[in-house]
């Protein structure tokens, strides 16, 4: 099994991949948040706060559900709304939330992020 890349390298790689992904049709934007900084790129900046609050809540509550139902640490969390969904995952200690249209294949997006 190959050794895991260091968190910093992992984040740099994801940041590069995010630049390509955000231009894809159906991707609304992303929030990449570490303990002391955040990169945000959303098509509709008026939704930054709402999306950030949703992301933070989903990370915490998703982990709580994982613990309660004993499925181990959450690798990915998908929050689906009526037309939009969010893919949440932890990358190199940072929390990544990618917002997209509901019909977009989030598994493919994970592959494009090179995280699977």
């Amino acid at each position: 099994m190959p050794a895991k890349s260091k968190p910093k390298e992992e984040i740099e790689k994801v940041q590069d991949n995010l630049k390509d992904i955000k231009s894809k049709e159906g991707v609304i934007g992303y929030i990449l948040r570490s303990s002391n900084s955040a990169s945000i790129d959303l098509k509709d900046p008026t939704k930054i706060i709402d999306y950030a609050v949703l992301s933070a809540t989903a990370f915490e509550a998703g982990q709580d559900i994982s613990n309660t139902l004993e499925i181990g640490g959450a690798n990915t969390i998908i929050v689906e709304g009526k037309e939009t969904k969010v893919l949440l995952m932890t990358v190199g200690g940072s929390r990544l939330s990618v917002f997209m249209e509901k019909n977009l294949d989030h598994n493919k997006l994970c592959k494009d992020l090179d995280l699977t």
Binding site: D50, A58, L69, G72, K82
Partner: protein, 223 residues
């Protein structure tokens, strides 16, 4: 069909699903207001209530994406599907290697079909016990009194659901099993409104053996 028969039918359905697919470790159905309708025979009530509580906290923030329709968690040892079925939600936890197609047929076909079938033979709309789980905040001091305080919205909702003019007494139950019955008033501190809190006088919290920050189940008396 009574609500008990309805819940039993759903419970049996979920238990049978679990028997057929041992990869399913837990399954239950709940309403958006937090009321648990039915769960399989092996999933504890506390597990269901904690899950529903976490789910509700996401749902409260999900308006930005048009309301919460489903939540999927891929964990290290398993996965969780929480999906909307009619006006309810089905929660299903399964092992990592569970057959995805089977899970989809359970969430999208079997359970919705059973619900539809049950509703078609139910003459009146179903009414479930309006219990809520709330976070304890203790009231101390000379003016603490003997009444607990909860959000006025919850009291109004109960009054409407139970077709009563008002709800003035509630039953509290701690996860440890201790129960208490007491009068209820609306929360008078505006900073604490709408936060899913119940303010309990210290004396009652000692009876229930609960501390600040813990959860208790609350329901109007006589239901």
């Amino acid at each position: 069909m009574s609500k008990d028969t309805y819940a039993d039918a759903l419970k049996n359905t979920l238990t049978e699903i679990k028997k057929i697919c041992p990869d399913v470790s837990s399954s239950f159905i709940f309403k958006m207001d937090g009321v648990i309708v039915a769960g399989d025979s092996e999933t504890g009530e506390e597990t269901m209530e904690k899950t529903v509580n976490s789910f509700q906290s996401i749902a409260e923030k999900a308006e930005a994406i048009g309301g919460l329709q489903a939540l999927l968690i891929d964990g290290e040892k398993g996965k969780v599907h929480l999906s909307r079925v009619n006006d309810m939600y089905l929660a299903l936890a399964a092992s990592k290697n569970a057959d995805a197609i089977y899970l989809q047929s359970v969430t999208r076909v079997i359970v919705p079909t059973v619900l539809k079938l049950l509703e078609s033979i139910t003459p009146t709309p179903l009414q479930f016990e309006p219990s809520k789980q709330l976070i304890v905040d203790t009231l101390s001091g000379f003016f603490a009194g003997d009444s607990v305080q909860i959000d006025v919205e919850i009291l109004t909702q109960w009054s409407q659901l139970l077709n009563r003019k008002n709800v003035d007494k509630v039953e509290l139950e701690a996860f440890g099993g201790k129960k208490a019955e007491c009068t209820v008033k609306e929360i008078n501190d505006p900073k604490l409104k709408g936060k899913g809190i119940i303010r309990i006088p210290e004396r009652i919290s000692k009876t229930l053996e609960v501390k600040k920050g813990e959860l208790v189940r609350v329901k109007p008396t006589g239901v």
